[in-house]
């Protein structure tokens, strides 16, 4: 059995390179692979294109990469709360591709599923449809969206077995299952790693074929926030 579990997350650093497109799971802080993001921060890679719903918050998660100037472009659905990101965009220091949240989720799913693009009814007739092909199908208007793929996906799950089968925790599932399918290299950060067979085949959300590396999270929930427990890197 391939050893996917990596005890020391910092050994994953060479996977990250300047200019990569990285898919990062999470909606707000929920379901965000905080430990892996710390590795990316420590790696000092630059000019990253980040595909994620938003850019973290308060110096945690992707916000950290933004503060450190590692992000060149953000592709996501909601950056309004990332005030410095808005400012950086105004100054031309950050590129932003804004997509409706459902279009973002679907484009990533298609990227992992061998689908080149799709027609969605969302955003038809709006500014976010500017420059996009429109087509009428069975009398309804749709716009074309291309699939999204990444070089690396960093995802957050609850539990992995040693093979790499994953299950998630409540709404921390969010973008993680699609991102797991849509990148060349997939790293999963989990709370717990169990023996093969401990996850019921009916309950697996992400089958092991999608997962390349597994690390244990260095963060725990304490008093309503995530607190780093171990200095992993």
């Amino acid at each position: 059995m391939k050893q996917k579990f990596v005890k020391d997350p910092s050994t994953l650093m060479p996977l990250f390179k300047d200019g990569q497109k990285i898919l990062a799971g999470g909606f707000g802080i929920s379901g965000t692979p905080l430990t892996i993001i710390d590795v990316i921060a420590a790696s000092n890679v630059k000019n990253l294109k980040i595909v994620s719903n938003n850019l973290g918050d308060n110096g945690i998660g992707l916000h950290q990469l933004f503060i450190r100037g590692q992000i060149k472009k953000a592709i996501g659905s909601f950056f309004t709360m990332n005030r410095e990101a808005v400012l950086a965009w105004t100054k031309g220091e950050l590129q932003i591709d804004l997509l409706p949240q459902g279009t973002l989720a679907e484009a990533i799913r298609c990227g992992g599923a061998g689908i080149g693009g799709f027609y969605t009814k969302t955003a038809v007739g709006t500014e976010l449809a500017n420059g996009k092909e429109e087509r009428v199908i069975d009398g309804e208007r749709y716009i074309f969206e291309k699939a999204i793929k990444g070089d690396v996906a960093i995802i957050r799950a609850k539990k992995a077995d040693q093979l790499g089968n994953l299950i998630y925790h409540t709404t921390a599932r969010n973008f993680n299952p699609m991102m797991a399918t849509a990148a060349d290299v997939v790293i999963a950060e989990v709370d717990e790693i169990v023996e093969v067979g401990e996850i019921d085949p009916e309950h697996v959300v992400t089958p092991h074929v999608y997962v390349d590396y597994i690390i244990q999270t260095a963060y725990q929930k304490e008093g309503g926030q995530y607190v780093k427990q171990r200095c992993s890197i």
């Binding site: 909606f27 707000g28 802080i29 929920s30 379901g31 719903n53 659905s77 909601f78 950056f79 309004t80 709360m81 990101a85 808005v86 965009w89 105004t90 932003i96 804004l98 997509l99 409706p100 949240q101 459902g102 279009t103 973002l104 989720a105 679907e106 990533i108 799913r109 969605t120 009814k121 969302t122 955003a123 038809v124 007739g125 709006t126 500014e127 976010l128 208007r141 998630y168 925790h169 409540t170 709404t171 921390a172 599932r173 969010n174 973008f175 993680n176 299952p177 699609m178 959300v205 929930k221 309503g224 926030q225 995530y226």
Partner: protein, 215 residues
């Protein structure tokens, strides 16, 4: 009334529109207050980050920062809830499986098209699930105070804010009145204050008419 009082006047009126058995998505802002007024109704709350079946707000013990709604507020799971990915959640929304979306609006035109995601001449950097809900929900209820902070009416002949989609909403609930949009025509269903329809027309600067009650 204070702004807070106004919002808490609108929220229960919205709750009145919800029916047993409906799957409902409550947007951020005034719509999120509706949750407090639906007790006793069998309404199933959908949250676009991947949950059908939001329960009551969590107690201190139940609090889990991973379990949140689309407004990133902590929630609980209702009995009979289901959890799923964002792709599956928006498949549910866009595919027309959510019965009612209650959305805060910035503007609505007299045909029922809304603007609720961006402000003119400001960087457009957030949309979230707004456009998916507008395009996908079976019924859309707009929720807003009738006037913006600068005193202008949110009901307008032509939108000046960026449009959220080509779909016409069904109902607009404000602190002054409930409006409905049938066949792209706006009518007044109900006035919630001590004011005639003529006075309300004057106030918003658009001639209004009552909904014709059909048999």
């Amino acid at each position: 009334m204070s702004n807070k009082d106004v919002r808490f006047k609108i929220a229960p009126r919205i709750a009145d529109e919800l029916e047993d058995g409906q799957v409902v998505n409550l947007g951020i802002g005034i719509p999120s207050l509706v949750n407090a007024f639906i007790e006793g109704k069998e309404v199933y709350l959908q949250s676009e980050n991947g949950l059908l079946g939001i329960g009551p707000p969590p107690s201190q013990d139940e609090f889990d920062i991973d379990l949140i709604n689309a407004g990133k507020e902590p929630v609980t799971l209702a009995n009979g809830a289901a959890l799923f990915s964002s792709a599956d959640s928006f498949a549910m929304i866009r595919g027309g499986h959510v019965d009612v979306a209650v959305l805060g609006i910035l503007q609505v035109d007299t045909r029922g098209r809304i603007a609720n995601w961006a402000v003119p001449y400001q960087p457009i950097l957030g949309v979230g699930g707004a456009m998916d809900l507008v395009a996908g929900a079976k019924k859309v209820i707009g929720a807003a105070t009738l006037f913006a902070k600068d005193g202008s009416s949110k009901i307008v002949k032509e939108l000046t804010y960026p449009i959220s989609g080509i779909r016409f909403i069904d109902l607009l609930i404000t602190e002054f009145a409930v409006f409905s949009f049938n066949k792209e025509e706006m009518v007044v269903n109900e006035i919630l204050v001590d004011m005639s329809i003529e006075e309300l027309s004057d106030k918003i600067g658009i001639p209004l008419k009552w909904r014709e009650l059909v048999g």
